[in-house]
């Protein structure tokens, strides 16, 4: 049985279709990533799965409950980390957790028993009486994560969990999320941060303009969609060089003043590279797949 199963899901706002018939299956215990540029329909999909907005068509089953029909029952066993923190600034760290737990009808006594473990998990031990305004961005994010765990959920939705955090804070969150999957929780996260998806997700789907355009493990997606080696070149005279490169590599692209060459072997290109051009030779990554599939045009 799937932790989350979506069939033919659609949602329109006015004449614009934001989600155009998507299918998803998330296996219990896996970390599933939903990737896509801004405006691809990721956040709308999450809201639909939680039963917060009415779908235009299709079926959703979350932890065995039909959504939106029994969304309330499903949400009782789900945690949510939203894109923007919405902790209550009138309360302290501990009060935020107590109040949130009360929304799940958990007794105050039971919540208070869970709090030390939650704060330890969030790296906020000893801060239970701190006001929200005294927390850094990373701390708020971790507290939001702890808040999403207050009902001991089976599945946690995360909308861009590390956007806006510094590398230290990001790595700490990643480590905690891995710990959650080891504990057997199912994670569904949206991101447009490829490194995050590559590190955390067992499986992912790339979404663009309301459709799912690719699905699989990060390695499988790279193997399937892109050549293994990448050479990035920029500098004076790159345009002339690009013409030559086209005969030496199977795929050559230009973005601004940089030439991207993809291939199984880029040695012949490296040998033919003039000295005054700067280059970067690296293995292909998920970001290359993402850019190939969704294009290099700017999204707003």
């Amino acid at each position: 049985m799937s932790a989350l199963s979506v069939r033919g899901l659609r949602k329109s706002y006015g004449a614009q279709e934001v989600v155009s018939g998507i299918d998803l299956d998330v296996t219990p215990g896996e970390c599933f990533g939903l990737l896509g540029p801004n405006g691809a329909g990721k956040t709308t999909t999450l809201k639909l799965c939680l039963g917060l907005i009415e779908p235009g068509g299709g079926e959703i089953e979350l932890l065995g409950e039909p959504v939106p029909g029994r969304a309330r029952e499903a949400r009782a066993r789900v945690g949510v980390v939203p894109q923007f923190d919405n902790l209550d600034p009138d309360f302290t760290v501990e009060e935020n957790l107590v109040v949130y737990g009360r929304y799940f009808r958990i007794s105050e006594k039971e919540i208070r028993q869970r709090i030390p473990a939650l704060l330890e998990f969030a790296g906020l031990a000893g801060r239970s009486d701190a006001p929200i305004s005294a927390l850094s961005g990373g701390m708020k994010r971790r507290l939001t994560l702890a808040r999403a765990l207050v009902n001991d959920p089976q599945l946690v939705f995360m909308d861009e969990p590390t956007t806006g955090l510094d590398p230290q804070a990001r790595h700490l969150i990643w480590e905690r999320l891995r710990r959650l999957t080891q504990e057997g929780k199912t994670l569904v996260l949206t991101t447009h941060f490829m490194e995050e998806a590559e590190r955390l997700c067992h499986r992912l789907a790339i979404m663009d303009r309301g459709r799912i355009i690719a699905e699989g493990s990060p390695r499988a997606l790279i193997a399937e969609h892109i050549e293994p080696q990448v050479l990035e070149v920029h500098g004076p005279g790159y345009e002339t060089w690009m013409q030559r490169a086209k005969s030496l590599a199977p795929r050559v692209e230009r973005a601004g003043d940089t030439v991207f060459c993809y291939g199984d072997d880029v040695e012949p290109l490296l040998k033919n590279l003039p000295r005054d051009l700067s280059y970067l030779h690296r293995p292909a990554s998920l970001e290359d797949v993402f850019l190939k599939l969704t294009g290099r045009d700017l999204r707003d």
Binding site: I53, R72, A76, P82, F84, N86, P89, R102, F104, A148
Partner: protein, 239 residues
């Protein structure tokens, strides 16, 4: 779901000081110039009106400004919606909360009036549930404004175009019956007038005439406001 909001009781103080200062300032100041009004001292007359007006203000401010802050600024409503609660629960919670806070304002004014000997009869105890009813009616109306608002300045229209004129014609400062007939008819269609019509006879020490009619109007405002607030809140949050 309301348990936690008790933590904010500290903020109530400011809701009480203002109406009391106004009560004593206007009540004693103007009262010295005026003979008795409807058989009461002016300050007792005004205390009954001020009880309803202050209750209205607390209910409206809480449901509009604090509600909007929780809904729009702090996104607290969004956070609550991830839990097994719905937008209907939040609307009901906000209305009952604002009405409770308003009731506290009304009952404090009543308590002060009693201490100063302005309301001595046991009948005034009935003003306590009446104040809650006034609170419910205006909290529900305020919450409609809250879920319709796109920005903070939206509330200024409601306050200036609706609340202030209503306060002038609803018998808070002077008997509404001395108004021209069309204005009196408008007052009678609005909730504040009916609150005053319940509370003033109670402060004077007797049962209000047509008590159930006035209570029914307030209840109708609360119920219709609740239904409309839920309708608009669902609309706002389902998109």
């Amino acid at each position: 779901m309301l348990v936690w909001r008790k933590l904010m009781a500290a903020a109530v103080l400011s809701n009480l000081a203002d109406p009391l200062i106004m009560l004593f300032g206007l009540g004693y100041g103007l009262g010295a110039l005026l003979p008795s009004v409807e058989g009461m001292s002016y300050i007792a007359f005004f205390a009954a009106g001020q009880l309803c007006a202050a209750t209205m203000f607390t209910a409206s401010f809480e449901s509009m400004f604090s509600g909007f802050s929780r809904m729009h600024g702090q996104k607290t409503w969004d956070a609550i919606l991830y839990a097994p609660l719905t937008i209907d629960d939040i609307v009901a919670g906000e209305i009952v909360w604002a009405a409770s806070k308003a009731w506290l304002t009304g009952s404090t004014i009543l308590g002060v009036a009693a201490v100063f000997g302005l309301a001595a009869s046991p009948w005034v105890l009935l003003a306590l549930p009446a104040a809650f009813l006034v609170g419910l009616a205006f909290s529900a109306a305020g919450l409609i404004m809250c879920v319709l608002a796109r920005g903070w300045d939206f509330f200024a229209y409601y306050m200036t175009l609706f609340m202030t004129p209503m306060m002038m014609i609803s018998g808070v400062f002077f008997p509404a019956e001395q108004l021209p007939a069309p204005l009196l008819a408008v007052a009678k269609a609005l909730p504040l007038y009916h609150g005053v019509q319940i509370v003033r006879p109670l402060v004077a020490g007797g049962p209000p005439p047509a008590l159930w009619l006035h209570a029914a109007v307030l209840l109708a405002y609360a119920a219709a406001g609740y239904a409309l607030a839920i309708y608009f809140a669902r609309k706002r949050f389902s998109s």
